[in-house]
Symmetry: C2
Subunit: 101 residues, 2 copies
DNA sequence: CCTACATTTGCCAATATTTGACAAGTCAAT
DNA sequence: ATTGACTTGTCAAATATTGGCAAATGTAGG
């Protein structure tokens, strides 16, 4: 996994002097799972991401962006057309956003 | 689904005056499944993509790019940070490619 | 060394998603 | 009404993802 998300939440947790155990219990998951999420061995569910933002008192959108970016990276990482595909997908997202208004 | 891939293979198939039945049998899948792939209701497996390129006598990388782009789009489409995340992921793909060298 | 505590590793069962097929449907041309 | 191309709906089997537990590893003090 890519893991910009995991690195960020680990840093935030440490800046707040919190233990995995403490954060995990607030998230209602067990410590090993949080450990895996921080190291990118597992991906957090979306719901966890927003709860994480509150617990770590940080911007939810930023967290969500990195979380999604990691997943995109993960999906594409083994393909040699990865970058090009990312551009194409980016364009179609843009078009979609315009329509949505 | 996003479906730039499906549209392309449908067009190529028609340009070649081929029936779904004919292409499907070469791919060793049944016609309804090909129909769904063309309309983006189902995603083709990666292996299918390259065999498709041969059958339709077209560039495999182009097909793969659209196929992957569709999947990226699909993963991100419901998030309002989709575009930003795509940019972030694109950057990390670029970095990864440099390292791979 | 021994202990206490934080984190990581390995594995498992439960659940969820994906897969491809089949049967039956629509639609158009004849 | 029949034929042929494509689509829709549904299903079981295979595969992947999930979260938890037990045990291992690391780390710091006494």
């Amino acid at each position: 996994m890519a893991n910009q998300f995991g690195e960020l939440i680990k840093n935030l947790r440490m800046q707040g002097n919190l233990l995995q155990r403490q954060v995990a219990s607030q998230l209602d998951i067990d410590t090993p799972l949080l450990s895996k999420i921080e190291r990118g061995e597992r991906t957090a569910k979306k719901e966890i991401v927003s709860r994480m933002a509150k617990i770590l008192k940080t911007n939810e959108k930023e967290l969500l962006t990195l979380w999604l970016a990691d997943q995109l990276h993960n999906l594409a990482k083994d393909e040699d057309v990865a970058f090009k595909a990312m551009e194409v997908a980016g364009k179609s997202i843009k078009t979609q956003n315009l329509k949505k208004k």
